[in-house]
């Protein structure tokens, strides 16, 4: 009874031609589409645009590549502290000259490039963005081909690459996102005198990742595992889950990642040329183009 009368009162008010009703109505009519648009637009923004992630040890040339690709010119850079995104589009020459051009209209030649810091302390930025953007189309792991000729540089690159590949593998195994993510290992700085050619970068990295994988498996467990109140997931298969590539295989090869839908390509290039000569990045563009229209 009470309720009914309240309801009736409300209805009467709602249909009365008073000022307040008009104001409320106008507000609702105006705001609802706005809010809806805002919400929907936000969502579509983050899901639709294909994203490529730049990752790799510090000083490899990620930010340089980022500025070149988004902006057309190579900026001077220093160590990055924060990730950075920007949209960029394939140069028309790329889509023309290669075999996948058929469907590359201007609209879908656009993509988002995400640059991440490579400093040891800041890798969580990169590793979390590995799992977050759902439209991750590919990963560009930039290495300094000259640095990997030294033991220390090689180990650093390999450890990072190992971790990255392992995250991708786990992501694939968990099956939440079965979309495979291809990886381009961009062997940068081919202009530098001491740099190794792409083929050698590949074999060195494979060998080193194999070693990293081995010692990681023998190393101490992480905190959190097997401790009371720990946050670690108690997978029975923990050991196998943390093993990169083919379980039990002695040698590591990038080909082993195909089982997990991860296609690894090692392609050489350079952002700077000798002297004033321009760099050579066409093959990297091609790789992006190929995976964009996939």
């Amino acid at each position: 009874m009470e309720q009914q009368s309240v309801l009736r009162d409300w209805a009467t008010w709602a249909f009365s031609p008073s000022l307040s009703v008009i104001v409320v109505t106008v507000l609702i009519t105006l705001l609802v589409p706005l809010i809806l648009h805002y919400l929907l637009h936000r969502q579509s923004d983050s899901t639709d645009v294909p994203t490529f992630l730049l990752i790799g040890p510090s000083g490899g040339g990620k930010t340089s590549l980022f500025t070149l690709f988004t902006n057309g010119t190579l900026s001077t850079t220093h160590t990055s502290q924060l990730p950075h995104t920007a949209t960029c589009r394939l140069p028309s020459s790329t889509s023309d000259s290669s075999d996948f051009e058929s469907e590359v209209s201007p609209r879908n030649s656009e993509f988002v490039l995400l640059d991440t810091p490579g400093h040891g302390k800041l890798r969580h930025h990169a590793l979390t963005s590995l799992t977050s953007p759902s439209a991750l189309k590919g990963l560009i792991f930039v290495v300094d081909s000259a640095a990997v000729s030294s033991a220390q540089g090689l180990t650093e690159a390999a450890e990072f690459l190992h971790d990255v590949l392992l995250v991708l593998q786990k992501r694939y195994v968990r099956g939440k996102r079965t979309v495979a993510v291809p990886v381009l290992v961009a062997a940068n700085k081919q202009d530098v005198f001491t740099s190794l050619p792409a083929g050698l970068v590949k074999s060195r990295l494979e060998e080193e990742v194999g070693k990293v994988r081995l010692t990681k498996s023998k190393g101490l467990l992480d905190s959190g595992i097997g401790m009371q109140g720990g946050a670690g997931e108690d997978d029975g298969d923990e050991e196998e889950g943390n093993w990169l590539g083919e379980f039990g295989a002695k040698e590591f090869a990038f080909a082993q990642m195909e089982e997990y839908g991860i296609d690894v390509a090692v392609v050489g290039g350079r952002l700077k040329g000798e002297g004033d000569e321009a760099g050579q990045v066409k093959e990297w563009w091609d790789w992006i183009g190929g995976n964009l229209s996939r």
């Binding site: 220093h78 800041l122 010692t215 992480d222």
Partner: protein, 687 residues
């Protein structure tokens, strides 16, 4: 004499820079690494308030910096440590204000990856001229009287120049170098010379040709401001002529009367003269200066042509007016910026409050409330204070030392101040996220420790030798226990381990180790893994000598019988100076590959002092702290199983020293040793 000035984004892109001499990019990279990322040595850059960040020294350079936090910008001035550039700070402040003002629209766009900041060259040059004048004069007055050799070379150059009758144009400074000038001045002149030839920049000339105006600070500012354009054009023309003809007798003649007069009045007069001389000259100079100041980039050259043709067309008048306007404007602005930074800060907050009227202030309040829920709120200091206080208390409850908690909160505050909260994110959540990031960064080691690989690399190959690890710490934290755990882990990996009892002090220490070694030996025999042995020389011997003998024994003897040497040391109170200082000798004699310090998860505030005091003992023979200046290689935090969520000690110790936590002791068994999972620790701390 400035060597370089750069404006960098936090994502690592150089937006604008000017190099007077070639400066390796490593110099600025290490500033970023040490100060911003690893936050070594004191405070992180203090956001908007700018002011006095401690200078950073690298190689022969001193770097001063300031940040434009809300836009993610870093402003860096680089100069040689020999010099004393008191005006660097003012320059930074002024450049920050002007750059942000000039490029605000572009900078606000988060997607921007580069901005065309070439126009800034002009502003910057004018700024340098202004400020350089102001500061060199100030020391130059007392300096020329007292004349100690360490004084800033620019000023001493000025006084030297005043003694010599002939004027000193830049091109002549090479010959000027020959007369007996003290070492430092010579260097400075050389630098100037260098610059001009490389860059054809007019900027260095102020150093040699500046009139020493005697005046109080604020007054002088005004005077110089008026004199600005006149000097500007002269100098620019000189730069031009020296650029075009490579020798500048005409301009040097020009310069001599300019130097002699010392009153502010003359400079005003000169200014007038140039004014009445007509806009053409000024306009011309404007353009030339513009071209000359863009030496670093090839595009600058194109610009010059473009601009000249521009002027040859009928734009000259308007250009001149514009140029004049820019400069006058600039002067006023610099005065405003420098005289009261606080004013500029106030004006920043003003518009929102001022643009009021009752209605809009009410509506802004409502939108503030709304934004707190929906996000998009710009965070002010007041917004942050309360939740940050709570966050600090929370950290203290987790056993984080007060010092570290305060620093973390400050760092979060600078991180968030004037930032907008993300959509549908409350302030608390934003702070929570920012704190998690700060903790992650502090706990994550710069390079991960892969002990097994390190050992393998050391014990194989032509230069193979045993790998030496030593364990230090205060009494009773579990040094021997953790050493045995490491030994067990190494045995599992088939290494041959020599355990060394270098605790020759506390009775029973050797026996305790002997028991451990016996247990480990039995275990490893049963499991058919590595072998372990004890090396001991009883009590009373010098620990450092015992350790060295053990290393020699392990590496030679019957065919290099050991892969790893684990040295146990005597526990010592960190404030026992005598025992502590013996660690230095120990570190040098035994020369371990890794020195780990064991700390207890249980201790509270003492942990910071412990960590610091131990770290500072490990200097090598050259007087440098080991391991890149941090002293030790890692912490082992014992008894982590007893503290639950209160793992704050990890943070305190890392924060105090910059040394990473490498292992955690989590129980009573040999197998209870863990690597640190940063995510796990942060999760516990933020829970």
């Amino acid at each position: 004499m400035l060597d370089a000035f750069e404006i960098i984004t936090t994502s690592g892109i150089v937006l604008w820079r000017k190099h007077y001499t070639p400066v390796s990019s490593n110099v600025i990279n290490s500033l970023i690494n040490d100060v911003f990322i690893e936050e070594r040595g004191g405070q992180k850059a203090g956001g908007q308030d700018g002011g006095t960040n401690p200078p950073y020294k690298k190689d022969k350079y001193t770097l001063r910096w300031t940040t434009g936090k809300d836009l993610g910008l870093i402003f860096v001035a680089v100069y040689q440590s020999l010099l004393h550039l008191s005006w660097a700070d003012s320059l930074l402040t002024a450049v920050r204000a002007l750059f942000i003002k000039q490029f605000a629209p572009e900078l606000k766009n988060p997607n921007v990856t580069a901005i065309d900041a070439r126009q800034f060259n002009q502003t910057f040059d004018a700024l340098v001229r202004r400020l350089d004048t102001g500061s060199t004069r100030r020391p130059s007055e007392p300096d020329s009287d007292v004349g100690p050799p360490e004084l800033t070379p620019p000023s001493s150059t000025v006084s030297a120049g005043e003694d010599e009758p002939p004027p000193l144009p830049v091109s002549a400074s090479a010959t000027f170098k020959k007369p007996a000038i003290p070492e430092r001045q010579k260097e400075d002149v050389a630098v100037i010379d260098d610059t001009t030839s490389a860059d054809a920049t007019p900027v260095p000339t102020p150093d040699t040709s500046r009139p020493g105006t005697p005046a109080g600070q604020p007054v002088s500012g005004v005077l110089v401001a008026k004199g600005g354009p006149g000097k500007f054009s002269r100098r620019a023309r000189k730069a031009n002529s020296s650029m075009l003809s490579n020798s500048a007798p005409a301009s040097s003649g020009d310069e001599s009367p300019a130097r002699k007069p010392k009153g502010g009045k003359t400079s005003v007069k000169q200014k007038r003269r140039w004014d009445t001389d007509g806009g053409i000259v000024e306009g011309d100079d404007e353009v030339l200066d513009y071209s000359a100041s863009g030496p670093t980039s090839a595009p600058g050259e194109d610009d010059r042509d473009f601009d000249l043709t521009d002027v040859n067309a009928d734009e000259m008048g308007s250009r001149t007016r514009k140029g004049e306007f820019v400069l006058k404007d600039l002067d006023d602005e610099i005065n405003a910026i420098l005289s009261s930074q606080s004013t500029s800060r106030a004006s920043k907050t003003d518009p929102s409050a001022e643009s009021s009227g009752l209605l809009s202030s009410a509506s802004s309040k409502i939108s503030g409330l709304f934004r707190n829920v929906v996000g998009g709120k710009t965070l002010s200091k007041a917004d942050l204070q309360q939740p940050l206080q709570q966050m600090q208390t929370h950290l203290l409850e987790k056993n984080v030392a007060r010092e570290a908690a305060e620093r973390l909160c400050t760092s979060v505050e600078t991180d968030l101040l004037d930032q907008k909260t993300a959509s549908f994110t409350s302030i608390d959540k934003t702070i929570h996220e920012s704190m998690s990031k700060a903790l992650t960064r502090i706990l994550t080691p710069t390079s991960s420790l892969d002990l097994l690989r390190n050992i393998n690399n050391t014990i194989t190959g032509p230069t193979s030798r045993p790998y030496v690890i030593s364990i230090v710490g205060v009494n009773g934290v579990g040094k021997s226990t953790n050493l045995s755990k490491i030994a067990y882990f190494l045995l599992q990996n088939n290494f041959r381990v020599l355990v060394v009892a270098a605790d020759t002090f506390r009775s029973g220490a050797v026996e305790q180790l002997r028991v451990h070694v016996r247990n480990l030996s039995e275990l490893s025999q049963r499991e058919q893994v590595g072998t372990v042995e004890l090396f001991e020389k009883g009590y009373g011997k010098d620990a450092a000598t015992v350790a060295r003998d053990a290393v020699t024994y392990a590496g030679t003897g019957e065919g290099k019988r050991f892969d790893v040497v684990l040295i146990d040391t005597a526990g010592r109170r960190h404030n026992d100076t005598r025992l502590m200082s013996s660690l230095t000798k120990f570190g040098q004699l035994a020369n371990p590959d890794k020195i780990f310090m064991v700390g207890e998860a249980l201790v509270g505030t003492d942990s910071v002092a412990q960590a610091r005091n131990f770290a500072k003992e490990f200097v090598d023979t050259k007087g440098q702290l080991r391991n890149n200046g941090v002293g030790m290689d890692g912490f082992i935090i014992s008894k982590c199983d007893t503290v639950g969520d209160m793992v704050g000690t990890l943070v305190s110790m890392v924060h105090a020293t910059g040394i990473p936590v490498v292992f955690l002791g989590v129980g009573q068994h040999y197998g209870d040793l863990r690597g640190l999972n940063v995510g796990w620790a942060v999760d516990k701390l933020m829970r």
